[in-house]
Symmetry: C2
Subunit: 458 residues, 2 copies
Amino acid sequence: MASSSTAPTPAAAGDVSFDRWLDEQRRRHHYAVRRAPLDALPGWSFSRDTGDLVHSSGRFFSVCGLRVTTDHAAAGQPPRSWTQPVIVQREVGLLGILLKEHRGEVHCLLQAKMEPGNVNGLQLSPTVQATRSNFTGVHRGRPVPYTEYFTGDRRGGRVLADSLQSEQGWWFLHKRNRNVVVMTDEDVPALDGFRWLSLRQIGALLRRDHLVNMDSRTVLSTLPVQVLADGCGLPGSAGQDDALHSFTEVLSVLAEARFGYELTQEPLPLREVLENATSPWRRTRDGIGRPDGRHFTVLGVTVEAEAREVARWSQPLLAPVPGVAGLLVRRVEGVPHVLLRAQVEAGSLNVAEFGPTVQCSTRHLTERGAHRPEFLDTLLAPGAGRVLFDTGQSEEGGRFHHALTRNLIVELDESDTRDLPPDFCWVSVPQAQALLRHGNYLNVQARCLMSALTLATR
Amino acid sequence: MASSSTAPTPAAAGDVSFDRWLDEQRRRHHYAVRRAPLDALPGWSFSRDTGDLVHSSGRFFSVCGLRVTTDHAAAGQPPRSWTQPVIVQREVGLLGILLKEHRGEVHCLLQAKMEPGNVNGLQLSPTVQATRSNFTGVHRGRPVPYTEYFTGDRRGGRVLADSLQSEQGWWFLHKRNRNVVVMTDEDVPALDGFRWLSLRQIGALLRRDHLVNMDSRTVLSTLPVQVLADGCGLPGSAGQDDALHSFTEVLSVLAEARFGYELTQEPLPLREVLENATSPWRRTRDGIGRPDGRHFTVLGVTVEAEAREVARWSQPLLAPVPGVAGLLVRRVEGVPHVLLRAQVEAGSLNVAEFGPTVQCSTRHLTERGAHRPEFLDTLLAPGAGRVLFDTGQSEEGGRFHHALTRNLIVELDESDTRDLPPDFCWVSVPQAQALLRHGNYLNVQARCLMSALTLATR
């Protein structure tokens, strides 16, 4: 059985090619994920009181009900109201990446990690990817390696970024993870399954489909400018002052949305969502979903894995329809700007965050009368702009089953000064990086695209 | 009857002395506030379903129940859990101050405004102090003047600060107000009841008890450094880099608290708080409170006023025991630093915010066995440091009845390098000002003390 206590491999990358290492990891990390009915997941049950799907420890996460009322995207109509299942995970998780300079280049310590919802088994996760339960041993599994670099005095490392960031607001209620970057001067051996990779290598790996996992991408988006060395991958990046709008004006676009839009979130027993004649959500033998197949399904899996903290477990996963997340980029007097949109999501902690230019599911777009989000056609049309990035990425495999999002970055011509609908704002790349020092400004889709823009479009 | 449509007084201050103007306002703003039982407030009632105290419009605010579980301040003990009444106000309010340069000095347009909970009738409020209901006319009152400077294109004014900031986390659940500062070049007449005051004048008025209201103080705390002209009132202020800790380290102290402390907030029907044998909260003829008199009472008032949007109304108010909020200040190599404490409050939106060094109620401190908060004795002891500020300030009179807080700022000797307990952090004044550009970093007590420090200790 593979173990994290085997002798460390050399700290510097390059002695074994990355692909051979990854193949080796895949061979050694045997695992099997099998679908299972939600009422046959050991440790999980539907609460008698509420119908919520909960774990017997009372921890990890629950699938609950939520009633949402909002006047966002109602276009002058009265506020819309609906009920839906939602994942509630009160605990704040920790996602940490350890950095070290090797031969003059900043390297990140990443891990080839299996998550049950991954479409392809192993993906590259942060140095530490753990819930507080992992730290306190509720999992009753092996200790999580490298946590000592992210807690207490961090073994003398310097913290370069530390913020609580949101996750998918349509699937989670008020979910946040702590995103931390720590630079060490110590010689830190890469345990089995871990590998030091340079930012240049990671940039190249980001261009491969479903390889760098969502947790890594969001932490990488918070890397400070000085670590990115030449700043943004797009040449011509500049200070915050060389921007179309002042930084306060950018903050003000979001404050206006948080003030101006109504968002009422009423937690409900899941039973009231599933047994309500006016709600399309139903529980079937396959899980929880809708007859029209829209949005997502909640299904169960049983996992057997050798190289995780616990060798065998069962859990629910949320299986969404596929989506697209796209960022339009434009230079303004040479300075790259990204087009962000203040976005209200069902489970937002603070009403609104900046999302990318476009963020939608793609399955129903070709139906008659389907709403096509603003700028979607610009993003997808051949020749509308220069395609800087076009890669399939996965959402977090610990909660989501085969959650595939096409990530697109398209650069428009500098002369493309079309009018913007409300809630959209051109934000310079340095301004977006300044926003990323703080929590709850850029949503997870925008953060993942920012990591691609700054690391993979050089 | 005084009306906001009378001819504007000259825009420049100085033609009538401030005190004569304020006396004149007090004479002209007749009002009467009378106590009334909670079940005799027109428009308000206890919900049959929940026992919550609600308004018939479903808007404004409600008094509800809350169960809180937290391991903060539990000192290694198991998490504490309790229930309490709490004010729920879903709507985000707007607090806006309009700025203009007169004769080379930045002036703020403030209003002498009556609030029913004020200990002394009129206090100086922001240019605009309004809920979204005020904008949309749910109050069915007069339109709120000057709102056009804070919405839409702001009549061409420049926005200098715009963030959603928290209010009292022990009394409100997830309450936020939008704090906005706009600079105009227009000649804006001061309507009756309004007055342009220079930052220097406001600094002097902040040293008078209960004159500059809480809403003004919190907006003033977000004034950008360039408006404060010589930066911090304390000479020797410097850039963010001249600080004991890096800005990321400061952010990290708060991220650590948000990650490390558990805070579970379960909204409850108020009935479950008031009719629970293990809870000390009871409804009596006088209102809602505890036999031991601790924390606060909820009482009712009926108001007759001439110069408010509505001439007569009734509402509940939360009447807290008096408190103290204190900030210790120390120079580090000449740069002033404030001692902030990551603080978990019952109604915090995001687990924790930085509070001042000390924040507590004072009524029960002399009882045997009472817990004396850290640094309270340093703050209050004669000669422990140089007293920079010591003024009685009021919390918001629209929600709180005679809520009086002694605001203290004491400067320690530079050589006072005592060890700090967990959650405390020395933050340079420029760093604190950088935090104040963003929401939910400094709580309302810390923000009010920052406005005193930067404006009233020059």
